[in-house]
Symmetry: D3
Subunit: 244 residues, 6 copies
């Protein structure tokens, strides 16, 4: 478990992110939009603002932030069938959509948002591992732009963004903890952990899964350390993107 | 965060499970079946064995274990619509079904199982918090009985059960870490963590979510400690149930 | 066709019910609930009360009683696929749900119920023949408890229960009319008749089907006699259950 | 309950059928087809023959006869939504499709049919009460023609039609037993009974429902007598149609 | 490409329609109805009038005309599965429904119609080529009758029918331009063009498709000429039908 | 109708295309891929090659080319619901998918393709009018690259690409024929025509619709001239893209 000796497929250090780019305003119509790339993983995110909230929340004075995640059929190595044609959304899609939504809501003051809804559509144009963490990381930036759009229209009741949020995957491959797994690494991982943190390094979500062997507390601790470090790197990149 | 001072709704200690009962062979037809109760939460689990495996696994020599989770419409305080009538399975259902399946597969030697499939149907008859953790804990026992059924028919290639698996929820309520949250506690929790461990105390799955404030590493550590403790208690109860 | 000479699988007399148990308040949340058992057939019934009625009945001053029937996947000898996952409700499910609803509405004074809705969810936990008749028989008891719950809240406009209702299956096996068929008998039956009667012995529903040969009037008469007798026995058991 | 004194909407006697026409070969492509009219109720039936049987019946040497029933959207007084657009088949449609299929199979020797499938599509072009009984009555004639078509191709193993089958509705309106109810009569009926009989007057299916008050044995007996009489009249009309 | 030398399957001239019959009031309930026949192609059309318009159009003062097209399962040579049972409407059905709706709306003054909706259900009872053009041609007549029905109730704001509309198919078979293709001709066509025109010969819709070779402008011009001629013939037949 | 006097929203000449860019190999996994832009309309196309053909074509020796078209939810000015979540594919989506597939198959020699399938997924990332014509134009280039990929693997039976294919929209706005309509122009168009031509200027598909007034032959001729001109311009751009 010596990160010094393991050689990654793309030559990265064990604790190094892939090249990350966050391109704002990739779309012309959306109130916020980002094309986020973690290496060859490419996710297009559109933030759509609408006045009002879903029926079950009307009259509460609270806003609503939610997310839908999907993959284009040929985002992956082999083509997958469209969920629209199958007529049903798969379990993985559901699970990731819910994770993204929860993660973003964790940094939102719904009262300050007022009765406005922001939907974050995260569509994976190309997948090479880490699509959900790229989606969360990019969606935060698109959300910030959408909030800014609302601010410009005096449609807020305060400052709804109480923190930033970023996410990264970590895992154990051949005994070595690695940051930001590419698809081939993810396939080989014995343990897989997604860490979602706020800009000040606290946890929003921790999801760890034994893919092969169950893992002990020492492994979990090492992965958490690495995840917190990677998420902090992404937080810095989000700040740079928003500063441009 | 002094567990001594917090009074739980049912008078339990902060680190105490609800009364747990595991009733084996509750059904006459299934190869394994369990009615598991965590307090007022009641989940009926049926293990169904079929010869052969899904098409994508045929010829591999490997078995398959999977799970489907669902709630009866009036398991909850107010009636929910049936997913069969809505014509689609919801995200929460998908997510929990997948979690149960992964958790059970973590303790299965698929080669030893041979090309047999075991489906664990986990139907929540009554919900009072912790349905997914009760389902995993009970499903392991039903799975063990189904494996035993296969063993009795000389249909195995070895010993497929390489470990036991149990699950419990922990959470922070009013700053206090609590074990095995009932519904009212779960609704009030600031942080919610599900821990799935093997019988020897290693992690299979860790899923922590900030419901209110993001949480720091100290909180996560306290919750992990409590979860490991609770899962160990459940492991002991599983052993007793299987010894009867 | 001499009932004296035919030996039933469980030693019952031809005109004898299986052991019937009606357990009230099996659930904690529902306004009425029953676990009804006809031998190994086990149906869990939850009566859910909601204020108001479906849109097409609003403003009429009339209440509404309806039912949904379903089977758990492993209620039967071999596992069936979930209708939620198939994305559609099957014809048999539809047919039985409608039968239960009609049977219960036959003993309801909708004006006295006021604009309240009672849904009877009948979920078959284990099936061994006669699931629809057990469901109707048990659902009446759950309905009576739900009506009582409304009465306790002064939410009624009068006495909505104008009668009781019970149901039983009868059939011809090897020329012999048998009461309350178990699954193996049902599979072998040449004629199959479900009789739904009120507490005073009048018919609410009569559904007879030739499974093998068409049947003549004498056979139909014999089956109706037997069905009326069996339903009367069930009426007595319902009364005892409600008296407890 | 004196049939002498009740005046029907169209002046018929209480025990009189509406004008019935059975037009064979209404379609050019189908192996058997019938446009059947019971007064203003008009059902188009197509019998489609295919070689082979559904997978679950392959290799049994037995044939298969099944039916699908549906209504055009404007068959009724007010337009109904299409089930294709709703994406699901309703309970009533399911129930009637199943009834028609069972009724036809009751007069089929599946061995003599050989491994051939006949599907009877019964599409209601206009509805004025009694669509299911018209469908069964007409479908028998289309089935006979389809069997004839198979006979002409030497594709049978014997004579598959062991009897004829016809169906009629009867009901109690204002205390009077009436034969072959039109829609306005059906809406006003206190009791509604569908009788399906073979050509020699035995029962294939009996389905009686109390729409208002529960009914006693004397009423049931009167309705059964009337239904048997009406079905015999229809049997005669089927014979004439097939003789043309 | 000499229309003189090509012999059609039914002996028609290249520029001759099949025998066309337009039977009005084929149904008793609908506000307008037509059975239209182009040779063996038979489409039943029901025009249903309802007060009010879809939600997105409410308050506009404008009416709405729309259409749904479908085929009975055995309209064709071999039986097709029902879209209601498949649970989804196919692409061809969608495409044709939309074409019919657009074609009819082209001759409607929605203001004069007032906030009324007319739905044209076009159900193909038998298909032998040209079902969409028969549907449009017949639907116009049913629409005219439905408008007349509204006029008789003083429910209009003016004259909503600003023109008539008719449609015909033309195609190139073995180099020869043919009018109103039957199924066997359609299957053999190299180019297929549907022309929808108003009563004064202007175009509402032109849809040409190369089935085999791409086609040049001269072919397109020849087909357009033929289509305009055929649509004019149909316009005359519509007028005769409406004059009866 | 003097093209000289009409001023377009972006200052283009009436017969001028928007800036068109065709970026090949935008994706890493697909056998062919193109990001095509017609002004602000942006469509991502992935060509996926699989060995073998759909079941109904197996053993024919012929290949198969098909297409699926979809829009991301926020491709448009206001967000649309996902078809995967609605559980059904809309009519417009179906119609365009079929058009793209037919257009591409018109330039394919299926025998030379051998029993291989190429699926063209056309996903609209941003919509500003002309998405279907951009999709066809770009899909041809992706198809050419996929064919090239097959050629490089010696998996072809000959040269499957017998021609190129391009598509463009034309329409009448305020009496003026305009080429390649942007969304605002399309919304204002009285007549709308999509022209699909081969590289040598012959027609594959012509679809013209009167949005407001019906149109006469002179208008149709003017639009066809303009469409042929625009498609020829696009053919040249396709050639340049493939030459790079």
């Amino acid at each position: 478990m010596d990160p010094m000796t393991y050689t990654r497929v793309d030559g990265r250090a064990a604790d190094q992110l892939r090249p990350v780019t966050i391109t704002r305003n990739w779309l012309d119509h959306a109130e916020g939009s980002v094309l986020v790339e973690f290496g060859r993983t490419r996710v297009l995110i559109a933030a759509s603002v609408t006045q009002g909230v879903p029926r079950w929340r009307q009259g509460s004075g609270l806003g609503w932030v939610t997310s839908e995640y999907a993959m284009l059929p040929r985002a992956t190595h082999t083509r997958g069938d469209r969920e629209s044609i199958k007529g049903r959304v798969g379990g993985r899609t559901h699970e990731i959509s819910r994770l993204i939504g929860r993660s973003l809501r964790a940094v939102i003051d719904h009262k300050a948002l007022g009765e406005n809804t922001i939907v974050l559509d995260c569509d994976v144009l190309q997948a090479d591992g880490g699509t959900r963490t790229a989606a969360i990381t990019g969606a935060y930036v698109a959300l910030a732009d959408a909030v800014d759009w609302l601010r410009g229209r005096d449609a807020l009741k305060g400052e709804p963004l109480i923190n930033s949020v970023a996410a990264v995957s970590v895992g154990i491959v051949e005994g070595t903890p690695l940051l930001d797994l590419a698809y081939v690494e993810d396939s080989a991982a014995e343990v897989d952990l997604n860490v979602v943190t706020t800009g000040d390094g606290r946890f929003v979500e921790v999801q760890g899964t034994a893919e092969g062997q169950p893992f002990d507390r020492a492994v979990l601790d090492a992965l958490l350390d690495l995840g917190v470090k990677g998420a902090a790197d992404l937080t810095a990149l989000q700040r740079q993107a928003l500063a441009r």
